[in-house]
């Protein structure tokens, strides 16, 4: 079965920036006047690229622009991208919540969307009544829900509360019940937006297992949006990467994920992994550059937990003797984790030199880290550059069905177990 079940052609969506007021009314009247004379909408010709960090110069923005793709029957397509890249807009158009400005989507199957769990839950109704209501909103018939009612209730694990109004539920229980309903949907195409990031560890495991059943066991077509690369990798067969509203990469999941991970690092916008402003000091030594990379890769590649990390420091020291280099590692909140110095190993020579420090793989936990670099002569601090670099460690691919959350703590070293 390799026929195309869904085909998107050049879909774009334009949004207006700012608030709705009298200014929008004049544009609306102008648009209506053009339409009345049978002319093209004057505002589809303008519009800025969707880059949230830029200053707005125009009134309109293309949330997504000219996206085309095809999905084959039984395929699980991942859609990845940074915040505001246009993922949710794309899903909204796919699930017919809003229409595209231009372009078209053709489909051969019923699409059910899961942009949120528990849509339409009414707090006054009991759990059981809400299962029927929510199921119907998602497109199930009463007979279908009836058939799966027992299964849904036991999957949610809320049997005791099923005849109590949902407003008495804890938020976690509400999510469980809602996901249980959604998981028993049986459309031909399922569109999912990051709903896995709910519930406790036990429930996440259950949810991911169910997702795999749906996509692999039952051969259903799924479009899946997530920031969690591990779940994308374990669920999807193919993925597209969105950046600033356009599709910039399409390929196998592994290729797409590594492309996505390298996005932030190329620009250096998110993490400053490479420091090369020359820092002078009255003592005349210079820090030429300082950076971190994976041992076997260059600076563009993302840092995985399975990489040995190489910290490279390029230094010129014309006069001083017996200098000691130290690196101070901090977590995202700025708490010190540890300090490491060159004292035991060597002291800086009176010349330019390239120094390496290696942190073995599986030492840091996933997350963002900041590094201060400082130079002392054993008695006195001579030089310090705070937060000289920062870097992001990414979780390695986890086995299927494992918990995908982050364990607590900045470090997650691997020690020998006997």
């Amino acid at each position: 079965m390799s026929d195309v079940i869904l085909k998107a052609e050049n879909i774009s969506k334009q949004y207006r920036l700012g608030t709705v007021g009298t200014g929008t009314l004049s544009h609306d009247l102008n648009r209506w006047w053009h339409q009345l004379r049978g002319k093209e909408d004057p505002y589809t010709k303008v519009g800025a690229v969707n880059d949230r960090s830029q200053k707005a110069t125009e009134d309109y923005v293309w949330a997504i622009k000219d996206i085309s793709f095809e999905v084959k029957r039984g395929e699980v397509l991942g859609i990845i991208g940074k915040n505001g890249a246009g993922k949710s807009t794309l899903l909204k158009i796919l699930s017919r919540v809003t229409g595209p400005t231009t372009g078209s989507i053709k489909t051969r199957g019923r699409i059910a969307s899961l942009l949120e769990v528990g849509t339409g839950f009414h707090p006054e109704l009991t759990g059981r009544e809400n299962v029927f209501l929510n199921g119907a909103i998602l497109g199930m018939t009463k007979a279908e829900v009836n058939e799966k009612l027992e299964e849904i209730i036991s999957f949610s694990g809320c049997e005791m509360y099923i005849d109590t109004p949902v407003k008495r539920y804890s938020s976690g229980m509400r999510v469980r019940l809602a996901f249980a309903v959604a998981a028993h949907l049986e459309p031909e195409i399922l569109v999912i937006d990051e709903v896995l990031a709910v519930g406790d560890a036990e429930f996440q495991k259950k949810a991911i297992g169910k997702m795999q059943d749906i996509s692999q066991g039952q051969g259903r077509t799924v479009l899946f949006v997530s920031h969690n690369m591990a779940s994308v990798k374990s669920l999807c067969t193919r993925a597209i990467v969105l950046e600033n509203g356009s599709s910039v990469f399409e390929g196998t999941t592994d290729e797409s994920v590594s492309y996505y991970l390298s996005l932030g690092n190329d620009k250096g916008a998110d993490y400053l992994r490479y420091f090369n402003k020359k820092e002078f000091n009255q003592l005349k030594f210079q820090l030429i550059n300082f950076g971190v990379r994976a041992r076997t890769k260059d600076y563009g590649a993302p840092l995985l937990r399975t990489d040995d990390l190489y910290f490279e420091i390029n230094f010129i020291n014309p006069k001083q003797k017996n200098l000691i280099l130290s690196l101070r590692f901090k977590d995202e909140q700025g708490n010190f984790i540890f300090v490491t110095t060159s004292e035991k190993d060597f002291q800086l020579k009176e010349e330019a030199q390239l120094i390496h420090m290696c942190v073995p793989k599986s030492f840091f936990n996933q997350g963002v880290f900041f590094v201060d670099i400082q130079v002392t002569n054993g008695k006195k601090l001579l030089f310090r550059k705070k937060d000289a670099i920062s870097f992001n460690i990414i979780q390695e691919q986890t086995a299927l069905g494992r918990w995908m959350g982050k364990t607590p703590g900045a470090l997650k070293p691997h020690f020998k177990w006997y």
Partner: protein
């Protein structure tokens, strides 16, 4: 393999009227559940429960009788003024509930509409149906009091025009739904109208001759008689009272006028609703 045979297509443009009855039929269970939800949740956690459906029209009717019949001295002929007011309120309430219920369709359901697709027309349709049930309950109170007055010897009886009753109910629904859909579509982007709806409906009640008869209104303020006569809702209220109490003004011209008006209003509402439902979530 047939490559160009698609189930449906999502495009920016759409037809003027695209009701898609087939799809609404597929979602009929949702329609029923929404109706049930609207009815059931009203009296959850109340002691009197469904009794509240009876209390509201009774109290309004008592007040109207006090104010308009006793204090203002507006006549209702041989008909007991309490029954007269109850008839007017029962008919008016159905129209008003349909109007206010549907006029908030887009804004009130933005949270659901923003996350999942189902035929949007389900929402106003469910409001109309659940109000029809409430109308049925209120009608039964009206019939109860009707029988009571007959038993104590009042000379009241319906006339032959009672056969038009279903048409009148349909007209009330169509007008309420049509106007409500227009308002809900117009208030998605510019909310000015929402401010208007609240007091406009209470003003409309007086211009529709609900608490007094049309004849009385024309007699007391002849310079405004056009406002009462050309108001299609007056035709509904007056017609309902005429067929049930055999008291009031009825002309076939007025009936046809109201019928055409209600169908046109419904069609306009449908077109505007259709045009809005596709992209309203971006501007709501």
């Amino acid at each position: 393999m047939k490559q160009e045979e698609w189930l449906y297509e999502i495009t920016p443009k759409r037809k003027l009227i695209d009701l898609n009855l087939k799809e609404i039929w597929r979602y009929r269970d949702l329609l029923i559940l929404f109706v049930k939800r609207d009815i059931v949740t009203v009296y959850k956690q109340t002691i009197l429960g469904p009794l509240w459906f009876f209390i509201q029209p009774l109290f309004t009717s008592v007040i109207f009788t006090l104010v308009f019949s006793n204090i203002a001295g507006l006549k209702s002929g041989v008909i007991p003024s309490f029954l007269f007011n109850l008839a007017g309120i029962t008919a008016w309430n159905y129209f008003k509930e349909c109007l206010t219920g549907t006029s908030n369709t887009f804004r009130g359901n933005a949270a659901i509409f923003g996350k999942v697709y189902f035929p949007r027309a389900i929402m106003p349709l469910s409001v109309t149906i659940s109000n029809l049930l409430k109308f049925g309950i209120q009608l039964s109170i009206f019939i109860g009091f009707y029988l009571y007055y007959v038993l104590i010897g009042k000379d009241i009886s319906p006339n032959f025009y009672l056969l038009l009753f279903p048409v009148y109910v349909l007209m009330m629904a169509l007008m309420g739904l049509g106007l409500g859909m227009c308002i809900s579509a117009f208030t998605t982007k510019y909310r000015d109208l929402t401010v208007l709806v609240g007091f406009a409906t209470s003003l409309l009640m007086y211009v529709s001759a609900v608490p007094f008869s049309l004849a009385e209104a024309i007699k007391k303020v002849p310079e405004l008689s056009w406002a009462f006569q050309y108001n299609p809702i007056t035709q509904l209220i007056e017609g309902f009272r005429f067929m049930t109490l055999d008291y009031g003004m009825f002309t076939w011209g007025g009936f046809i006028y109201a019928l055409v008006f209600s169908i046109l209003l419904f069609l306009v509402g449908l077109i505007v609703f259709n045009k809005t439902e596709k992209n309203f979530i971006d501007t709501v």
